[in-house]
Point group: C2
Chain length 86, copies 2
Protein backbone atom coordinates (compact mmCIF):
# COMPACT_ATOMS: atom_id res chain seq x y z
CA UNK A 1 0.00 0.00 0.00
CA UNK A 2 1.08 3.60 -0.59
CA UNK A 3 1.04 5.65 2.62
CA UNK A 4 1.92 8.81 0.67
CA UNK A 5 -1.19 8.39 -1.47
CA UNK A 6 -3.06 7.72 1.76
CA UNK A 7 -1.76 10.95 3.23
CA UNK A 8 -3.14 12.86 0.24
CA UNK A 9 -6.55 11.28 0.79
CA UNK A 10 -6.45 11.93 4.52
CA UNK A 11 -7.25 15.65 4.34
CA UNK A 12 -10.93 14.64 4.44
CA UNK A 13 -10.42 12.29 7.38
CA UNK A 14 -8.43 14.89 9.32
CA UNK A 15 -11.53 17.02 9.75
CA UNK A 16 -12.76 14.54 12.39
CA UNK A 17 -9.78 12.33 13.15
CA UNK A 18 -7.29 15.19 13.63
CA UNK A 19 -4.29 16.44 11.62
CA UNK A 20 -2.06 13.74 13.15
CA UNK A 21 -4.71 11.07 13.52
CA UNK A 22 -5.49 11.97 17.11
CA UNK A 23 -9.09 13.13 17.26
CA UNK A 24 -10.14 16.17 19.28
CA UNK A 25 -13.72 14.89 19.57
CA UNK A 26 -14.35 12.31 22.32
CA UNK A 27 -16.52 9.98 20.26
CA UNK A 28 -14.29 10.00 17.13
CA UNK A 29 -11.55 7.35 17.42
CA UNK A 30 -7.86 8.05 17.25
CA UNK A 31 -6.42 6.41 14.12
CA UNK A 32 -2.71 7.12 14.58
CA UNK A 33 -0.71 3.93 15.11
CA UNK A 34 -3.79 1.74 14.87
CA UNK A 35 -3.39 -1.72 13.31
CA UNK A 36 -3.35 -1.35 9.50
CA UNK A 37 -5.49 -4.44 8.82
CA UNK A 38 -8.00 -3.34 11.46
CA UNK A 39 -8.37 0.05 9.74
CA UNK A 40 -8.95 -1.73 6.41
CA UNK A 41 -11.49 -4.05 8.06
CA UNK A 42 -13.35 -1.16 9.70
CA UNK A 43 -13.49 0.94 6.51
CA UNK A 44 -14.77 -2.03 4.53
CA UNK A 45 -17.37 -2.71 7.23
CA UNK A 46 -18.69 0.84 6.76
CA UNK A 47 -18.44 0.56 2.95
CA UNK A 48 -20.30 -2.78 2.90
CA UNK A 49 -23.03 -1.65 5.28
CA UNK A 50 -21.86 -3.87 8.14
CA UNK A 51 -21.83 -1.04 10.64
CA UNK A 52 -24.80 1.03 11.69
CA UNK A 53 -25.47 3.10 14.79
CA UNK A 54 -22.87 5.27 16.46
CA UNK A 55 -21.15 7.53 13.97
CA UNK A 56 -21.76 5.19 11.05
CA UNK A 57 -24.02 7.76 9.39
CA UNK A 58 -20.93 9.96 9.05
CA UNK A 59 -18.54 7.18 8.07
CA UNK A 60 -20.61 5.24 5.51
CA UNK A 61 -20.61 8.01 2.86
CA UNK A 62 -16.90 8.56 3.42
CA UNK A 63 -16.08 4.89 3.00
CA UNK A 64 -18.28 4.58 -0.07
CA UNK A 65 -16.11 7.23 -1.77
CA UNK A 66 -13.00 5.11 -1.31
CA UNK A 67 -11.79 2.34 -3.61
CA UNK A 68 -10.15 -0.70 -2.04
CA UNK A 69 -6.77 0.78 -3.06
CA UNK A 70 -7.69 4.08 -1.36
CA UNK A 71 -8.69 2.16 1.75
CA UNK A 72 -5.38 0.28 1.78
CA UNK A 73 -3.46 3.55 1.32
CA UNK A 74 -5.33 5.50 3.99
CA UNK A 75 -4.93 2.59 6.41
CA UNK A 76 -1.19 2.42 5.63
CA UNK A 77 -0.89 6.15 6.27
CA UNK A 78 -2.70 6.26 9.60
CA UNK A 79 -1.07 3.11 10.97
CA UNK A 80 2.30 4.73 10.21
CA UNK A 81 1.60 7.72 12.47
CA UNK A 82 2.87 7.72 16.10
CA UNK A 83 0.12 6.41 18.37
CA UNK A 84 1.09 8.59 21.30
CA UNK A 85 0.63 11.88 19.40
CA UNK A 86 -1.56 14.69 20.70
CA UNK B 1 -16.46 5.17 35.51
CA UNK B 2 -14.14 2.88 37.48
CA UNK B 3 -10.97 2.04 35.54
CA UNK B 4 -9.85 -0.36 38.29
CA UNK B 5 -13.06 -2.37 37.89
CA UNK B 6 -12.43 -2.18 34.15
CA UNK B 7 -8.94 -3.56 34.62
CA UNK B 8 -10.38 -6.56 36.47
CA UNK B 9 -12.74 -7.21 33.56
CA UNK B 10 -10.00 -6.77 31.00
CA UNK B 11 -8.33 -10.16 31.51
CA UNK B 12 -10.78 -11.52 28.93
CA UNK B 13 -10.07 -8.69 26.49
CA UNK B 14 -6.30 -9.07 26.89
CA UNK B 15 -6.42 -12.44 25.15
CA UNK B 16 -6.87 -10.62 21.83
CA UNK B 17 -6.15 -6.95 22.56
CA UNK B 18 -2.87 -7.60 24.43
CA UNK B 19 -1.82 -7.27 28.09
CA UNK B 20 -1.30 -3.52 27.69
CA UNK B 21 -4.03 -2.91 25.14
CA UNK B 22 -1.68 -3.21 22.17
CA UNK B 23 -2.79 -6.19 20.11
CA UNK B 24 -0.29 -8.67 18.67
CA UNK B 25 -2.73 -9.71 15.95
CA UNK B 26 -2.87 -7.43 12.90
CA UNK B 27 -6.64 -7.40 12.52
CA UNK B 28 -7.41 -6.85 16.24
CA UNK B 29 -7.35 -3.14 17.09
CA UNK B 30 -5.14 -1.55 19.67
CA UNK B 31 -7.28 -0.18 22.51
CA UNK B 32 -4.65 1.56 24.64
CA UNK B 33 -5.17 5.33 24.71
CA UNK B 34 -8.21 5.14 22.46
CA UNK B 35 -10.99 7.68 23.05
CA UNK B 36 -13.12 6.51 26.01
CA UNK B 37 -16.46 7.48 24.46
CA UNK B 38 -15.49 5.79 21.19
CA UNK B 39 -14.75 2.54 23.05
CA UNK B 40 -18.16 2.76 24.76
CA UNK B 41 -19.83 3.47 21.40
CA UNK B 42 -18.07 0.53 19.71
CA UNK B 43 -18.89 -1.93 22.53
CA UNK B 44 -22.54 -0.86 22.50
CA UNK B 45 -22.61 -1.22 18.72
CA UNK B 46 -21.50 -4.85 19.09
CA UNK B 47 -23.89 -5.41 22.02
CA UNK B 48 -26.85 -3.92 20.10
CA UNK B 49 -26.14 -5.82 16.92
CA UNK B 50 -25.07 -2.74 14.97
CA UNK B 51 -21.85 -4.32 13.80
CA UNK B 52 -21.53 -7.42 11.66
CA UNK B 53 -18.75 -8.66 9.42
CA UNK B 54 -15.09 -8.41 10.31
CA UNK B 55 -14.39 -9.73 13.78
CA UNK B 56 -17.90 -8.99 15.03
CA UNK B 57 -18.58 -12.72 15.48
CA UNK B 58 -15.89 -12.66 18.18
CA UNK B 59 -16.88 -9.35 19.72
CA UNK B 60 -20.68 -9.67 19.90
CA UNK B 61 -20.70 -12.46 22.53
CA UNK B 62 -18.09 -10.56 24.56
CA UNK B 63 -20.09 -7.34 24.49
CA UNK B 64 -23.32 -9.14 25.36
CA UNK B 65 -21.67 -10.32 28.60
CA UNK B 66 -21.02 -6.74 29.68
CA UNK B 67 -23.45 -4.46 31.48
CA UNK B 68 -23.41 -0.75 30.59
CA UNK B 69 -21.42 -0.15 33.78
CA UNK B 70 -18.89 -2.83 32.77
CA UNK B 71 -18.63 -1.20 29.34
CA UNK B 72 -17.98 2.21 30.92
CA UNK B 73 -15.35 0.73 33.24
CA UNK B 74 -13.52 -1.25 30.55
CA UNK B 75 -13.52 1.82 28.29
CA UNK B 76 -12.15 3.96 31.13
CA UNK B 77 -9.42 1.41 31.74
CA UNK B 78 -8.22 1.06 28.14
CA UNK B 79 -8.39 4.76 27.39
CA UNK B 80 -6.16 5.31 30.43
CA UNK B 81 -3.37 3.13 29.01
CA UNK B 82 -0.47 4.76 27.09
CA UNK B 83 -1.26 4.68 23.37
CA UNK B 84 2.34 4.29 22.31
CA UNK B 85 2.87 1.01 24.23
CA UNK B 86 4.20 -2.09 22.54
Amino acid sequence: ADAEAGKALSSVCAACHGQNGISQVPVYPNLAGQKEQYLVSALKAYKNGNRSGGQSALMIPQAKNLSDADIANVAAYYSSLPAGGK
